[in-house]
């Protein structure tokens, strides 16, 4: 039900305030990024994205975000099932832990990962290093940092839907002869598929945009361990503003595309 309220004077004032707020804070600055990126024409825009370092940074972002999203898909769904469908000691604690990435600064996440996984004196990193596996200053560490910061997104989308659909359908499937995996694949998964899609889109947006954690973990070596967000900072500091704005615009565009996809998909959920 929707309140059919007339817009009074108070309503107009509120609208004005909110619109001004959003314009000043979000729309105008973001718009300016696009304006700067394209002010010397579309060719300049594209050519500033073609330098080998920028290309490498973009490719690295795709790799890191891609892996992070896949890992978060698998573990996000598994954790959601565990949280909703099972009762075990420590469940509440796990639920709180999932939200830690939302509240802890990504920089802290980066530092924590370095402490554990660095090859020189890391708690676990030295062992991994003797097996010839380097985590910090290389792609695995960056993927881990990105997985960490995007961890809650899939879980927080999926758990309420799992709660809502309940266990009746799963029990019906069991009584009709379906085993555990068949029940998951044919009943549970289709029931949460849209929640998973939303979670994934949000995770993509978050993963592409991650900066702090990745910066610390990667070592930020241009052309080697530099992602797109790090490249924005680097090019900006090197007064290559055209490249900085072009990458920034590309990042902003991708993130907005994700949000638009979500917005288009959402209404379909209530069929």
């Amino acid at each position: 039900m929707r309140a059919d309220r007339r817009t009074g004077a108070g309503g107009w004032v509120l609208r004005g305030v909110v619109v001004t707020y959003v314009v000043l804070l979000v729309a105008w600055p973001t718009g300016l990024v696009f304006k700067r990126a394209f002010q010397d024409g579309i060719d300049t825009f594209f050519s500033s994205l073609t330098s080998p370092d920028v290309q490498h940074a973009l490719a690295l972002t795709v790799t890191v975000a891609g892996w992070a999203v896949v890992i978060n898909l698998v573990f996000g769904v598994a954790i959601s099932l565990l949280l909703v469908r099972y009762r075990f000691p420590g469940r509440r604690i796990l639920s709180v832990l999932i939200d830690v990435p939302l509240s802890v600064s990504p920089v802290v996440v980066g530092l924590a990962l370095v402490l554990v996984y660095n090859a020189r004196d890391g708690w676990f990193g030295t062992t991994l290093a003797t097996w010839g596996f380097q985590v910090i200053f290389s792609t695995p560490g960056m993927i881990m940092a990105t997985v960490f910061v995007a961890l809650p997104l899939v879980v927080r989308e999926v758990t309420p839907v799992l709660e809502e659909i309940g266990t009746d359908q799963e029990q019906a499937a069991r009584s009709l002869g379906a085993g555990g995996f068949q029940t998951f694949w044919r009943i549970t998964l289709p029931g949460i598929r849209w929640a998973i899609v939303y979670g994934l889109v949000l995770a993509v947006a978050r993963s592409i945009g991650e900066f702090g954690a990745v910066k610390i973990v990667s070592g930020n070596i241009t052309g080697q361990s530099q992602t797109a967000t790090l490249a924005v900072e680097q090019t900006y500091q090197n007064f290559d503003h055209q490249a900085a704005y072009a990458i920034a615009a590309l990042l902003a565009f991708t993130a907005m595309l994700c949000l638009i996809v979500v917005a288009i998909l959402r209404p379909k959920e209530q069929h």
Binding site: D168, Q171, A173, G177, Q182, G191
Partner: protein, 324 residues
């Protein structure tokens, strides 16, 4: 015996939901598990289906010890109060589910689904989604889905509980006819005594996790094993310290031979064809009597009269209360 539960006990924390329950449910019958809500009926049904596990005790289905079998190995059909429709599948797909899991041939599945949808009068809805069906239609779909796998027993947990009165009545008559057509052993849970009396061959009365009585509708109604069953299955009133059904008492406006009780008619309510009389006896009891209108008119009853009441001779009297 098709389903035999022996010494089944189930606790939730400190709460005893089932207390050493033993029941034998015969093959081919339509049995009602009847009792007040919270009595443990659903818990017993779910333990039979394998959806819950008993703390102790055993369940046998068709002579097979099933206590440790998972639900998918028990070959039971289960119908839930809230339908548990597979929301993302069409009606036909819902019904086909169990057969697809069993990897039957496509042609066989299609034939069986068609046959079942006809049986539950949903043929024209085969391609609809469950959200496009009414509650009653959804429940018929759930029934067809459960029947598709040819279960050795069919278990229904308050199958009509979520439907409105009209549809509920239609569906339970229909269930009775369906059972006469396909006599698969069926157990349904209900807290509605009328539903149980009307539909079931046999009634198991359950209260506080214990079986109070097992019997035919006539037996549990007319020969209740105790006060609880007596009062749960129908209206009661107290006469000479015993619980009696109000329609098992006859009223006369003149003295009658035999052990009649004398009293004053204090109230006479006409509700459609029913007449409810209240009689205050010399012993200080307020006895309620239900008569038909014809009967009341014949007797020429009026408020304020002296009347004599007797329990109907052919009807069985009735368990004693603690007062007797």
């Amino acid at each position: 015996m098709s389903i035999r539960a022996t010494n089944v006990t189930k606790t939730f924390g400190d709460f005893v939901a089932l207390d050493d329950v033993t029941v034998d449910l015969p093959t081919g019958h339509l049995t009602a598990l009847l009792g007040p809500s919270g009595g443990g009926k659903s818990t017993l049904l779910r333990i039979i289906a394998g959806l819950d596990t008993a703390d102790s005790g055993t369940v046998e289905i068709e002579g097979v010890e099933a206590s440790h079998l998972p639900p998918q190995k028990r070959n039971v059909g289960f119908v839930f109060q809230h339908y548990a429709a597979f929301k993302h599948m069409s009606v036909a797909k819902n019904v086909a589910f169990g057969l697809e899991i069993r990897k039957r041939k496509k042609a066989d599945i299609d034939a069986k689904v068609k046959e079942l949808l006809e049986l539950v009068h949903l043929s024209q809805f085969a391609d609809r989604m469950p959200s496009q069906l009414s509650g009653g239609q959804r429940q018929r779909m759930a029934l067809a889905r459960a029947l598709a796998v040819e279960p050795s027993v069919l278990l229904l947990d308050e199958p009509f509980g979520a439907l409105d009165a009209q549809v509920r009545k239609e569906l339970r008559d229909w269930l009775r006819r369906l059972h006469d057509e396909i006599p698969v052993t069926t157990v349904f849970v209900t807290h509605d005594q009328e539903e149980a009396l009307e539909v079931a061959d046999e009634i198991v009365v359950i209260n506080h996790g214990r079986v109070e009585q097992v019997g035919t509708p006539d037996e549990v109604y007319h020969q209740p094993a105790n006060d609880f069953v007596m009062s749960f299955l129908g209206p009661t009133t107290t006469l000479n310290g015993s619980a009696v059904r109000p329609h098992d008492i006859d009223v006369f406006n003149q003295p009658v031979a035999g052990p009649a009780v004398e009293g004053t008619l204090t109230e006479l309510k006409r509700i459609g064809f029913d007449v409810r009389a209240t009689i205050d006896t010399a012993g200080g009891e307020h006895v309620t009597v239900h008569l038909t209108r014809t009967h009341a008119d014949e007797r020429g009853l009026d408020v304020g009269q002296r009347v004599w009441i007797v329990t109907s001779a052919e009807r069985r009297p009735v368990a004693q209360t603690g007062l007797a």
